[in-house]
């Protein structure tokens, strides 16, 4: 135990000595260091037993004695010691002696004994210069600029550099500071750059998710939507092209959308959006037939133009509320001069959270609720209220993924057809066709889905119902398997309680 204590004490003393040697500022060292050409009287290794070096290296160190000092030659020997003992770093001290002679000491220290070196191996080097980039020097206080320049001539201190980093961020709110180190102009010296840029981190308000997809459903055939976003970090213009989209609604529609979004208006808590859509629907025969037998559901139209401005306020990056208006002009199919207005106020609340508590596993939760209610203040010809709630949970561990989703919808009053709910496409009630489930949609909807994925292979179970108030709700079940790779998917869905067994194939890409 006593011997262990002595070894520990010796190690500590050597570490302190090397730290002092490594820390010795260049400016101070110039006074005591021997100059090149001084005859070397002795060469020693401190902190490591000489017999732990290879015979060749020992001979080369011994050969220094009597020779004139050449710093490069001595540095090469230090590098060779480090190469033979990679758990150590070596500092060279050439000490000037009287009569133009010198003494060379190789100070060897274990990396793990020096906290700074453990943190960053470049802490062994001397800072040659410090630079702030990305902002004019005048944006930084004189005191901080002086403290930054105080790093020059000293060994790099990662903790001190971190503190200065924090002070710089505190003086420049809304900016991020990234520290970068590069080689200096002389061997063993480094150049430290504090790069100032735009602040990052979780955005408080996200842009609307992309609707881009190209999907094939064996009953519904092709649907295509392409969103082309362009813009900057906080402002975006999205042009969307829609070709025969049968996925989303009970109408099949083609047209375009333009969406302007800003997710930082004065503050990152406030966002604005404005969307304009001009869409031309067409109708499936089964939908027309269902509307024919129940004309009270709604009137078909040939053109649909929507303007939807909204304001979003974020309480936190996870929780936000949205309020706005939606005005849709519907052009009657049979009497084009007749226009119906569906004018609603829209309010919604959304919550998103990701937990990353364990290595290799994540939990994602999303929940949202939206209500749209018509108002005469927006000249609405239709009187209705639509509510939609949705919750999703996803757990990923390694190659395994479990996804659960529930949603419900309720419409009161006479809503236009584009507001009615439908289930049975490539993402809901897979295995069914929406035109078999409810060809004219419904004003009530419940849906749940459970999916397990292992690597690219997926197994799912879906259940849901769409119906009209006053009619029986028939719950449809389906199950199936899928293959997912990046944005591509291929799914085979099987209805479980249908009259016949008719599998549905769905495939496509979404991004």
């Amino acid at each position: 135990m006593q011997r262990g204590f002595c070894h520990g004490l010796l190690g500590l003393l050597v570490a302190v000595a090397v730290h002092l040697a490594l820390s010795f500022p260049v400016a101070h060292a110039q006074g005591t260091d021997a100059l090149d050409g001084a005859i070397i009287q002795s060469a020693e290794v401190s902190g490591l037993a000489v017999d732990q070096l290879s015979p060749d290296l020992r001979d080369d160190i011994d050969a220094l004695v009597g020779a004139p000092l050449h710093r490069e030659r001595v540095d090469v020997l230090a590098t060779r010691i480090e190469a033979e003992h990679p758990e150590f770093v070596v500092a060279v001290r050439p000490i000037a002696l009287p009569d133009g002679e010198s003494r060379v000491i190789f100070l060897v220290a274990r990396i793990s004994d020096d906290r700074d070196l453990v943190s960053n191996i470049n802490a062994r080097y001397t800072v040659e210069s410090v630079e702030i980039s990305g902002v004019p020097d005048t944006d930084v206080s004189r005191a901080l600029r002086e403290d930054l320049q105080g790093l020059v001539g000293e060994r790099l201190d990662p903790d001190e550099a971190e503190r200065l980093d924090d002070r710089l961020e505190a003086e420049l709110p809304g900016r991020d500071v990234r520290r970068r180190i590069a080689r200096g102009s002389r061997s063993g010296q480094i150049h430290v750059v504090f790069e100032v840029g735009e602040a990052r981190g979780a955005a408080w308000i996200d842009f609307a998710p992309s609707r881009s997809m190209w999907v094939y459903h064996s009953e519904l055939a092709w649907s295509g939507t392409l969103d082309l976003p362009m813009g900057t970090r906080n402002h975006r213009l999205t042009v969307g092209l829609v070709v025969d989209d049968k996925e989303e609604l009970i109408e099949e529609y083609t047209g375009y959308r333009v969406r302007l979004e800003s997710r930082k208006v004065v503050t990152e808590r406030v966002g604005l959006s404005l969307e304009f859509a001009d869409l031309r629907p067409s109708w499936q025969r089964s939908t027309l037939s269902a509307l024919g037998t129940n004309p009270g559901i709604g009137e078909i139209y040939q053109n649909r133009r929507t303007v939807e401005p909204a304001v979003t306020f974020a309480f936190s990056p996870q929780l936000r509320v949205r309020g706005g208006a939606s005005v849709t002009e519907l052009e009657s199919l049979f009497q084009p001069q007749d226009l119906q207005i569906a004018g609603t106020v829209v309010a919604s609340i959304g919550f998103d959270q990701t937990w990353n508590r364990e290595l290799g596993s994540t939990h994602d939760v999303h929940a949202s609720y939206e209500v749209r209610t018509s108002t005469t203040a927006l000249d609405s010809d239709l009187d209705y209220t639509r509510q939609l709630g949705e919750a999703r949970y996803q757990f990923q561990s390694g190659r395994n993924l479990v996804m659960a989703r529930v949603s419900f919808g309720r419409i009161g009053g006479a809503a236009p057809l584009f507001e009615r709910f439908s289930l049975g496409n490539a993402s809901t009630l897979r295995g069914w066709s929406k035109f078999d489930v409810a060809p004219a949609g419904g004003n009530r909807m419940v849906y749940q889905s459970l999916e397990y994925r292992h690597r690219q292979l997926a197994f799912f179970f879906d259940a849901g119902s769409v119906w009209d108030q006053g009619t029986d709700a028939q719950v449809r079940l389906s199950t199936g398997v899928g293959f997912h790779s990046d944005n591509f998917f291929l799914t085979v869905g099987l209805p479980l309680n249908a009259d016949g067994v008719d599998a549905q194939f769905m495939t496509g890409v979404s991004w």
Binding site: I111, L117, N122, R178, E195, S210, R233, G360, T507
Partner: protein, 201 residues
């Protein structure tokens, strides 16, 4: 009946064509990696051929003189999806010596081991060597029982990375990111699963 069969045949051919078209445009992923398992003394060591983690964004950050923490988890599983028989977690600190152009690695935790002057492959191998599991920990598996391994790692950076969404020059990558809304690669990491293995006699 013939009409229905013909219609179904046409429908399935159409689906098949669509699948071929889409799969053909989507390159295959997940090329298998060979992993060797051997016993060194009383510990089990794994060596995944071609398993690289000092690359890409992490390598760029290290070459900028920054240090990175990388967390590893090695689990031995009784079957491909668990249960976990034994696991080992270890974190390392990595930095890149700008003048020597070599990597330095240190263990984070109770043990104070550090090594430098390593090329990237040697630094990676050194980290994996520290993840060795004692043979005794696999005892309840039985000597002849097969087992699977899962190796996962994740980088943590103590400093913020440049914002990929930041207004900057228009590049092909920014265009792809913008169109695909890919999440920023903040904390790169990966995992591999391999097996079955048997303990060498």
């Amino acid at each position: 009946v013939i009409g229905t069969m013909a219609r179904n045949t046409y429908r399935y051919c159409r689906v098949g064509f669509v699948v071929i078209l889409l799969v053909g445009s989507n390159p295959a992923r997940g090329v298998g990696q060979s992993v060797t398992v051997d016993v060194v003394g009383d510990a089990v060591r794994i060596r995944p051929a071609g398993f690289r983690f000092i690359e890409g964004t992490a390598l760029e950050r290290l070459r900028d003189g920054r240090s990175l923490q990388v967390d590893f988890e090695l689990a031995v599983l009784a079957d491909p999806d668990g249960p976990v028989v034994s696991e080992r977690r270890q974190s390392f600190n990595l930095s890149y010596d700008l003048w020597e152009e070599r990597f330095s690695v240190s263990l984070i935790g109770t043990s104070s081991r550090a090594i430098s002057h390593l090329v990237s492959a040697d630094a990676e191998a050194w980290c994996l060597d520290q993840l060795m599991l004692p043979v005794a920990a696999l005892g309840r598996l039985g000597r002849d029982e097969p087992f699977w391994i899962r190796l996962a790692y994740r980088f943590h950076d103590t400093e913020p990375a440049p914002d990929p969404d930041d207004d900057g020059p228009f590049t092909l990558r920014s265009l792809i990111d913008m169109l695909s809304r890919r999440a920023p690669d903040d904390e790169p990491g990966d995992s591999l699963d391999a097996g079955p293995f048997h303990l060498p006699n």
